[in-house]
Symmetry: C2
Subunit: 425 residues, 2 copies
């Protein structure tokens, strides 16, 4: 039933019933965790061969490099070739680096702060006003925390079904030279699963900006992580940007963290020739070169781009059922409640759940008290501040299917209980 239409008596009765159901949950001693987008052990097992694929007699790269020794700032070319095709970036403009694309994003942002985004540009930290980054929200909490750590102001803009709210973005970038960039997760955005429309992508790359050093932080974290056959395309954004007259506007990031091993994958950084030279010059001050042995493991394990796609299909086979369970339980429990809406992502790692405004924090708190850990409410917004207190991120990949079903059922009870409390108040 739609909670908002209930009589006060019926609502009181429902609240009482939900309260009893909720109290009963405490006896189950649950300990379930849907907080982070982690691959499950079964997914990690898919890459088991990676561990031993480089052995005592096979550490030499195709180019003849002893991967055990120092050097090679760009990363192994045989690995870069595979991901150049998948990420739609020319191989000479794509660097392969260490285990974390988050580190590459931090480096890029900190280089911009300390040095400016080119030899001629002013360091962002020397700007008259604190630099600002547009943050489509809900979005990825670590993107926001990274900027906040560097002293960059976070400016929320709404994330719509096909990308950021362009009208809002245009207005913000047009007049304020302190707006230096925007975060973008173009495919299967964290957490809503939104796929950027091609028109929106083109406009972001082409739009006029007051800042002449405006940059798009294009985090293609999930571009190959499809959950349906309706696969989001990977556009050649460097080419589109160049054609639009802004060749240096976009920094591209990706990693294999959710392809092979979450803590021990490889990361990628791509951009224009000028930006690659800029990034490498500053990178060279902090690194002699990335872990080439691990890069060789990945190149051998995947073999080619088709090998990566086949591997990602095996991930899909494991996690698609978990997303189906989330959808089914939410539909069964909340479908006609009128107090919840959720995303049906075509890829990525999350379901975004919107509950009755003003209750998200309460829902997460209720769930926690019966042993179901969710990402803190508001985490997907700049400064952790969800202005409507309604968004909850669900990360269903790590637990088993049975645990996902139990956790989402508990979550649904908490959503209804919090809504009944609110409506009855």
């Amino acid at each position: 039933m739609a909670l908002a239409t209930l009589t006060p008596e019926r609502l009181t009765q429902l609240h009482s019933e939900l309260k009893s159901s909720y109290e009963a949950l405490k006896d189950r001693d649950l300990k379930l965790d849907l907080t982070r987008g982690k691959p499950s052990p079964a997914q990690l097992d898919l890459s088991a061969d990676l561990l031993t694929i480089v052995g005592p007699d096979s550490y030499t790269s195709a180019e003849g490099t002893d991967t055990r020794n120092y050097g090679g700032l760009d990363g192994l070319v045989e690995l870069r070739e595979i991901f150049a095709e998948l990420l739609n970036v020319p191989v000479d403009l794509l660097l392969a680096q260490g285990s974390s694309s988050l580190t590459l994003m931090y480096n890029t942002m900190s280089f911009a702060m300390l040095h400016g985004v080119s030899d001629q540009a002013t360091p962002w930290i020397r700007s008259d006003n604190a630099p600002k980054i547009l943050c489509p929200s809900p979005g990825y909490d670590r993107h926001f925390a990274l900027c906040e750590s560097l002293g960059i102001e976070l400016v929320p803009v709404a994330m719509l079904d096909d990308g950021p709210d362009l009208e809002a973005v245009r207005a913000l970038v047009a007049n304020d030279p302190a707006v230096k960039g925007i975060w973008a997760v173009p495919a299967y955005s964290n957490p809503t699963g939104a796929v950027f429309g091609e028109d929106i992508t083109r406009e972001l790359l082409a739009m006029p900006t007051a800042a002449d050093d405006f940059r798009i932080f294009w985090d293609n974290a999930y571009g190959l992580h499809h959950l349906t056959d309706d696969e989001a395309p990977v556009l050649d954004v460097l080419d589109i940007a160049a054609e639009a007259g802004h060749p240096d506007r976009v920094f591209i990031f990706a990693s294999t963290s959710k392809m092979t091993f979450a803590g021990a994958g490889v990361s990628f950084w791509g951009s224009s020739p000028a930006n690659v030279a800029w990034f490498k010059r500053h990178l060279a001050a902090q690194s002699i070169g990335p872990d080439k042995i691990n890069q060789l493991r990945h190149a051998r394990f995947f073999g080619d781009a088709a090998g990566v796609r086949a591997h990602m299909a095996r991930h899909r086979a494991i996690i698609e059922p978990k997303f189906a369970i989330v959808h089914k339980v939410l539909e069964d429990r909340l479908g006609d409640s009128g107090v919840a809406h959720w995303s049906s992502p075509r890829g990525g790692y999350f379901v975004s759940l919107d509950v009755l405004p003003g209750t998200a924090d309460r829902v997460v708190s209720l769930a926690k008290d019966v042993g179901v850990a969710m990402t803190p409410a508001g985490a997907a917004f700049p400064y952790g501040n969800d202005p409507e207190d309604k968004n909850i991120r669900i990360a269903p990949t790590m637990p088993t299917e049975d645990d996902v079903a139990v956790a989402i059922d508990v979550l649904a009870t908490c959503v209804l209980l919090a809504a009944a409390e609110k409506l009855a108040a």
Copy 2:
């Protein structure tokens, strides 16, 4: 013979003979490289078992962590325990991170620039004057380049046989609050092999400084890399600093780059409780955690501190003869020339050669033209500027013994030829 004592005629004759010898070298088509301190393939082979020691059924740490997944910012405790003993740092104050200690040094320095060295401190980049770092010279070129990249002024101080020139250091730190720190490679310094005396270490940790946020960047890169039985001790510098009333003065760095695989080792960062909290807070903005699989490989491969020491003895067995060759050829060719002096290191990776002032650049250029690549003259000094143009760094570990012998013999010819040119001019 001592070149400086020769008659003009004898000097002209010698120059002519050396010139002939040098010209003859061109026919040998040599291609030898003594530029960087790289381990040789034979040294890398010592760690062959590391490659496959973590396999599909053995990725769980002693604590029960699935090392393949996300998390664990501090690094695996079983690895930290081994190196806590070796580096003389309490395990809870020692972090294990990725493949490069240079990256940790850069991070530490950039955090100091952007945030200051504590919650209360002023970011170095906001100081009235550009921050300055004291650079004992000759020293490690990447230390200097890192600071230069961050906009930190390099201030040379002389490196003596038992550490930096304390009188000069004391004078510089006592009055100038812009002097924010000093580089230190306490054991087997790059390139001279100097071992810091305990008195000098204690004084560096205790001396009054005008800057209340003065820090020592204690890069213990070679502390376990002995070449003789007269092993440099690893002092408990955190404890000494605390007793001297400066508990937060020192940041400790180390890595296994020259123990296992130069490009794929693990690194360590140690400091006081307050500094560890400071570093982790900023590190968390750029990393979810280091590559724990590679850390588990290292913990298993070494087993314990004694395992590391035994492994380092095997390195010594390979490289000690190369250092002996360097010493013998230099002694045979230059011992009585009066135009060359060199270090006899008890450990580390380098021999520091001082030639006739004003000829180092010429020597390196001459060697290059006959196929022997040396580190550029002046590289071991801030801004690449050796004020006397006399220092050359020899890195003998990578080539074979035969190649070392040939390269040093060629180098000796170049040293004599350049000296004869200079003295005859």
